[in-house]
Symmetry: D2
Subunit: 241 residues, 4 copies
């Protein structure tokens, strides 16, 4: 019964190639692990940093309803021109789902207008993501919380604009909390930041994490609304000037 | 492709019976005018003030995904018990769409926690509802604004909590503005207030108004998320006390 | 350099009289512990449940800029008439600071429009309140977090409307999180909910907790803005009807 | 009784020098008209585009609590380095008040993460700014609305992130509305956008406009809160890994 959605999953795809420990967890890349778990009504394409134009040509983006973004070690290699292209598409209505270390990507920082900085600790501790907005479409099929036995910690303060909707808040074994599922609208585009997904842990095989991502794709898909007109405008009423 | 939604349209249904001028505009009642325009995937039932339990039995509400509310002259006659019943269903996830003079209904005031007061003037002046969140699902298929040649004026200050999402803002010929399309979540339930719809004007035959109501029904429909557990809770982690 | 503020601290004052363990911690009542710690520019008055009109006469409320509310065991004994009186004063601009178990008070539930329900556990575990909006006036003088060695746990889901501003989020030793410092506006009045303060723990002697309460009083104090006019309104522009 | 605030007013200062019609309205520049009207507890400094470093040296910004920004015709001439410097200061807590055509300044677009585009018409029509949050400190001393007999029109859709607080909404004679007083927080800094102030009209001599700007300066002034620590963090609790 769901509307079809054209999804592009962008992955930096470096850790998997360079680090055997990561390759063991994600032999075909994080992008494949995420894409394979999406439901049938999602048509999935992959785009990678080391492809021409990072795989994000104008045509590819025009045919994308929702873009997923996983990056970490090579944020600086993403060309400004491509960042600008993605940015324009978001304002025009393309959904964007930023995953884990994508918090420091150029595109996320540009859309947020803040540093997007945070605390972190990579020792593999327990994370529990609590649902704080239980009626939200992004938590369809999820219980009161998602528990991940081993994850990287991200802790507050997370330097983001106050989310339009806060869906998840994480508890970490080491004593921190984090706003781990956050929604914003920029232009006509919907953005969801979802915290978990460190490259050395099998987080993207967790069925709850997969369900949240699938729900977020449906939530972020554009709804076919009109584009506003900007610039000089004639009066709609007679002026008495 | 849309999910089926069970809609109950509640109408006070007094103006139509007592006032020939209103009956001429809405011969079968405002509820019928609204219900007839809903799309096929909406299953519509009507409930009226003068029915037993105002037509809102426990069974009826359990079988309602989204409730629409039109009332004006008889807010005081709605029994507290029924208000409480609707309130509980909203917190459990039923969507609620409050129309026009429903701003002063008991159920809306109870859910808002404010007076819901406003300015008004009933002379039949021009209203133009501007879209201020153009990517929102409630404005699918709507242009930059909706123009209504004759409506009652509602003006700021509208004493409501700041909306979670502001979708429409109205311009009135007489010089006022109004936040005329507002979204909130209460418990698991989604609420949309939509301003237009005075009983003496054919507003509910306007195809844009009809489309907004249909969109709002889809937006407010519950998404099948888990109910939170409340009360005493055992620890999830070992305590060192 | 601060503006003088007239503060009324309302306390149920039952635990302290009936339970020796509580009396030992707060021999003069929770209200006195809170009031004694407020700065010089706050003029403090106390009001108690068992006083006539619960100490909240019309005159007392008219002379109150900010009302603090601590209640727990006797929410049901607060008369509807007094709740309505406090409610009207909040809409008119009086600040309201609701403490700890006051989440279930009649006045808070009426202003929120939700059940205000939550998870709880009273074993005296560690709470760490993280600042999530570090530039907010309510956290002036506070570090990155406040740590309380023993507190009652309150856990999500907390059934409140999404706060206009979220200032604190708590981590609990037993595995839960909680939105523990939340701001709303209702009418002209500012409301702050602050979670800690169980009667069996010396939380109100913690200097950070005291500072947050003092800051919240300054933040919630009315600013002398105009009262909106409601009801029938003449047009400000010539109508062409 | 107010806290002293160090204000820097930045002005492009081109229209006044080149256009006799503007010079007649603002013979000493828009910045002087604004600065002269600020109250005694505001210490005012001016900074101009054509000064070295646009008058915004690191030292000047470090000694600025709140920066006002008026620009229009020369947004493109503002150096990226200075934009970055102002941006960092806002995240650290400096208040920023963006006036009128400053909506298209580099600094505002960078902080918003959107195009900040809008409709406009420069014929000198009537604007009425309605207060939609009547208890807000920015409207202290203001009535229900501010009326300006001749202003440039700005109309929705205004492509900004949903404001954290919406204080004013404008009605325009020609049929448009506009969110004309908007608050956001970015990092520790508070931002206020205030719409009126076209260079050919004497808007900055209007006492209500002056009062709003003065109130906004007080509201945006930093409150001396702690700077969060970012980066790698040791656990606060013993880990069981």
């Amino acid at each position: 019964m769901n509307q079809p959605v054209r999804v592009t999953i962008w992955n930096e795809y470096r850790h998997e190639l360079k680090n055997p420990a990561v390759r063991e967890v994600y032999p075909d890349g994080i992008h494949q692990a995420i894409g394979s778990a999406l439901p049938e009504h999602h048509t999935v394409t992959y785009a990678l940093l080391d492809q021409e134009q990072h795989g994000l040509t104008e045509e590819r983006l025009q045919e994308t309803d929702v873009l997923l973004w996983w990056g970490h070690t090579a944020h600086g290699e993403v060309q400004e021109e491509i960042v600008e292209r993605v940015y324009q598409r978001v304002l025009q209505g393309m959904g964007l789902i930023v995953l884990h270390s994508g918090h420091f990507s150029k595109i996320f920082k540009k859309l947020m207008g803040t540093s997007c900085d945070l605390k972190w600790r990579d020792v593999g501790e327990k994370e529990r993501l609590w649902v704080v907005q239980p009626g939200h479409p992004i938590v369809r099929g999820i219980g009161e919380y998602i528990e991940l036995p081993k994850e990287e910690m991200y802790g507050e303060h997370f330097d983001i604009p106050a989310p339009d909707e806060l869906v998840f808040t994480s508890w970490f074994e080491g004593g921190e909390v984090f706003r781990s599922g956050c929604c914003w609208t920029r232009g006509k585009g919907r953005i969801f930041y979802f915290r978990p997904g460190h490259e050395t842990f099998p987080t993207y095989y967790n069925t709850d994490v997969q369900r949240v991502i699938a729900n977020a794709v449906d939530w972020a898909a554009p709804v076919g609304t009109a584009a506003p007109a900007y610039g000089n405008a004639k009066p709609l009423e007679e002026l008495t000037i």
